[in-house]
Amino acid sequence: MAMFVLPPPPRYPPTGFSLASPYAMGGAPMPPMETSNTIAHPTGPEHAFHTGEGQYTLREEIHLATPPPHPSETPITSPNPLAIQPAPPSAGTRISTIIIKTVPGTNRTSQIYRNTVLAQNGEAEAEHASEPRTSESTEEDSTDGGSKSGTDTAGASTVATSTTHLMNDKFGGENAVLTHAPTKDNKKRKPKNNIQKSNSSFVSRVIMHEALTKKLQESGASEDLFVFANINRAYHWLNLSAKQNKQESLSKVLFTKSHPICHDVNQLTKSATHIDIIMGFSTGDIVWYEPMSSKYSRLNKNGAINNSAVLDIRWIPGSDNLFLAAHGDGSLVVYDKEKEDAPFVPEEFAEEGETDRKPASGFFAAKSVNSKIQKFNPVAYWNVAKQAINAFAFSPDHKHLAVVSEDGRLCIINILKEQLLDVFNSYYGGLLCVCWSPDGRYILTGGQDDLISIWSFVDRRIVARCSGHHSWVADLAFDPWSCDARTYRFGSVGEDGRLLLWDFSVGMLSRPKAVAAKQPRGSVSSGTANGTSRTRPDGQPAGRLRSESVATKVDDDGVVYHPVEPRARTSNLLAIMSKVVDVDPLCQLEFRDDCIITTCREGHIKTWDRPKSTTLSVVPEANSAQ
């Protein structure tokens, strides 16, 4: 605190949309219309909402400035509403957050709490929950265990979702080709190109904060909450733990024509000097960006592997290098951040003798992660849906993937075996978002039917539909800090600008009669139980292949198609809280230990403080002061 030195005059006035300084760091002249981010602290009843545990109040509202269009883009003077050229997909602001500890060893209580929550809820129950499924999988892939630990250790120590116990069946683990030799000195590899000096036409401009290094050193807090956010063609790096001028970007990258749509931070490789970010673009390009050194490299250049937009992107849990990108044509592609592109041609269609047979499900691995050709990207390539994949989520145990697509399907995929397990359908319309409960038992989806659907992963059925949004549901998240063994808390945001909070309890949801009736023990398809220590031969409820509905179909590949349950037979859940928190359609929701963050299409990032004294007795944060 005391050593906090006032920063040099800010590049951008902290308030207002007035003209910015007419020069940029790189010497390039800045267009006069450059606007800067703003911050506001509105108060009042309209900026707060109540739940059982107390009042959430708006801490701050950062408005990211929408960058002016790139000079190369011809300004649209009179838009023709009937112009039939399909517009490239664009997305509202989404954020990726990461906590970087600048002072090592100051583990916050909440962090511990979170770990324990996950340990109790997440891991223990996740194992319970997914046991039936995992027992189905024959685990011949248990050899590669320690090969990655060398690189993992540095980053993994702080991450709640530690993956040590999962080493054995990590994605792609059995493929020796994928094993990365540990780098010298445990040093993390950086991308190749300097983004500031890049002469690529892909990157338009980079604006670094003048005192970036200083800021990074002197933030004063034991840890920094970095937020990376996209808006239009810009990509901001903010420090929400900063004492002042939080709204100022530490760096801002402007791209030329491509808009970043989705991005993710690798929680495993983070360190005080290294952050791995992966960004997916409207043009299909993917950028691996390391903001600390402002290095980047570009993958799937100009759509070399897949030229449809990247609609969701995530690091594969537990992997330093691999990430999964959902493309607009319904494919999921695994890339390696350090590999070069190579034009992709599917390797194999199906089993021998059936090369012409395309699986009825439409899912098949055009390139398996176990392929031995791993010199170039893609590492794996799966066709999942016929229409755009809007989102996907990894199960807490990292073994399964829930994928939602524009055709209204929720697909559950075993990523280790690269196998489609279940196909569910939305009530109607496309599905837009998906997430797993911290214990891996439930999956939430939200979509164009204005509903949130709760699916039981274990029972392979719909549990409930939640109505309350007035428009499409844009994002969903569980609030692990408010979940306990019995009650789940989750939130959702929609295009109606509303934030809704929901509670559902297992007791309320379970249908003992139906479940008890169908509980075949043991695995169904391939009886080989896995021999790992995580096996629990005791009678966990196994996945039922038949739901009570007659129309459930199982195809030759063992994919289970679940019919749409009629409304009359599905329980309906109502929200405990509904509040219009933004004038614009919301995009994302994130729960943090001390706050809820919402973002909207127009660049508002709102931070909502949790009630001062929660039932969870989270120790008040030292640096959560405003």
């Binding site: 649209i76 838009p79 023709n80 509403p81 009937l82 039939i84 399909p86 517009a87 036409s201 100009n302 759509g303 070399a304 592997i305 030229n307 044509d329 319904g330 070069e340 190579a342 034009p343 992709f344 041609v345 599917p346 390797e347 194999e348 269609f349 089993e351 021998e352 090369t355 012409d356 395309k358 055009a366 392929s371 031995k372 050709i373 010199k375 170039f376 066709n383 016929k386 229409q387 055709d407 359908n425 109607y428 496309g430 164009q448 039917d449 204005d450 109505s467 007035h470 428009s471 499409w472 295009e495 109606d496 600008g497 019919p563 749409v564 009629p566 409304r567 009359a568 614009d584 359609p585």
Partner: protein, 733 residues
Amino acid sequence: MLQCLYYSKQFREAVISYPRKSLQPGSPNGAINANSRISRISTEPAAQNGRAKAGVGAGVTAGTGNQGPLARRGSTPASAAVSPNPQKPEDKDSPEAKKKAALAAGPMLNVELGNSKNYGMEESLFTAMKDLFESIVSSESRTGVVSPLRFVEVLKMKNELFRSQMHQDAHEFFNYCLNEVIENVEDHAKVTNQSSSSSSSSSSSSNGSKDGSSSQLVPGEAASATDSTAAVSTSVSTQSESTMTLSNTGWVHDLFEGALTSETKCLTCENVSRRDEPFLDLSIDLEKHSSVTSCLRNFSASEMLCERNKFHCDVCGGLQEAEKRMKIKRLPKVLALHLKRFKYMEELGRHQKLFHRVVYPYHLRLFNTTDDAEDPDRLYELYGVIIHIGGGPYHGHYVAIIKSEEHGWLLYDDEIVEPVDKSFVRNFFGDKPGLACAYVLFYQETTLEAVERENQMEEERAAAKKAKLNKTDAKADVKKKPSKEKVNGHANGHAIPVPLEDVPDVAGAEGPKTPTLGPQVKTPTGPPPVPAIPPTYLIPKSPVPEATSPVSPVVKSKKEREREHREEKAREKEREKQAKKEEKEREKEAKHKNREEKENGSSSHGLSRFRPPSISKKPFGFSKTQEREREREPVPPLPVPLPTGSPNPGDTSSSAAATPTPSTTSLLQSQSPLTASTAVPHEPAPRETFSERYVNGSAAGGHGHKEEKKHKEKEEKHHRASKMLRKKLSILG
């Protein structure tokens, strides 16, 4: 005539779109029902005349009832056959063309009336509409404009509302048309409710609208109806329909009509009274940032009847406070949703257009059904959107987006019809610049299976398109290829193993073969055969730019060329793949012979598949690794030393030359006219992979793991080399 042209676009638009719109429910139904009700449809034409004319309609369900226009169209082609000739004006806004079309429409009418004596109908909106439909359907030309001149005349004749030159409301028009059609049919059927039409117009506001919340608008509407500015009109339709449905169940009803139940619960005595009302469409109020679903929910949200709106309870006798809500009791086959974008602002004293963002999904189910509703989970799909463009309620322009069976989504803008992307439909939520918003949405019933089938079809169609595209590319490539191969094979003078001789043959064989595949793939009708290559792999996606790129003589930027290069490569591979597939079919036995190799554990058998029989007998020792690498890791044959990293162009050529690829020639070619360069330079890389397999296979036979290591090294080298090549090419370019 002038007047007609001058007449609001809205009319033209409406007429152009409505026919199609009402056609659409027919055709999809026809298609969907065709599966389940073939018999009925086949009998339809016969039964049709009698039914429609006699107004019997009893045993005919809505699905077929809807066939009204459709089936009739089908049944009368002979009579209408006279008409098509004059109806082929080009898709232009030329008055002449329109006039011609209009004239064509005129005779049509006569033909129609002459033909169906049974009709004996007076000229009415219905007959006019029918004529339109028939002329469209019977017209052989796919393009062309049908001017609804006669229709408009009839319309004007029938309803003074439309006689002025004011812009009309599409929804109102829609209602009017439907009702008029119902009426015409009924009149004709000599059902004894002739008075319904007059009563409907006179009893305007008495009945109230079916939509409780819009009731306050009704008086205003009735008043404004004369000056034809009513923007929100539900009254006309509801009245006539409510009076009529009691006595008649015509096909229009079957199709469009649903039933609402208004449940009124008296808060005093708790007595619930229900009253059913039919509806042809639902007018829903909008709220900011909402969805159609949500608006429909609001539509059914309970409403308090209090103060001046008190409810007269029969049980307690007297006006009481009550709670009222509207639910849908019977779901229509076609759900027309009218978004009340034009709201009367009291403070302004006039209507104003609302630009709320209202999202609408491609599919819909209704939440607000009664408990006893039949099939409450009925799935609807969006098939038509009427869009209003303009800032206010008093003027503007209507266009329609319609989902057609054969052509996907089409945008109808007066005379212009354009195919549009599916995502285009989403441009009219109301928040985009340009003042265009969806105004009326048409959903028709469907099933999940139908939707899935359609998805499949879409995919296949896209695949066919791509295959076609690739075919043309492939053709172009193939032309050059065989000759080059020869050059290559001999020019390099490598000791090419004998089997290699087959390579050119294989490539050559593709030439004649691919085209044969073409027609199959192209055929839009019927379930298109699954193309050889799942479309998802095709790297190029947008067809237009690619198709042009190889021939484009324009000097390309470095980047562009780079991309093209890659695309080209991908395509090349694609083609190979296709060829491979064919090869495989022809050489099943060869495959069988290769079984032993495959038993190595790899399920990949592309190589063996590809291999001509003679090769396949060769003892292949290399593992699946190599086999798999065939796709993208071309490795030069062993005997040739590989200079790597040397920056001179010879490097690339030598690495390429190591393979039996004429890299030198290709490089030369790339220097030659740029037109060729876009296509030519891409040859080497895929070629390499292509022949390399054989070289590899034969040269590297039986080396096992060692081989693999070498392989890796080389692969790296090669990668570098190919990068160089690319670089060089771009420099040359």
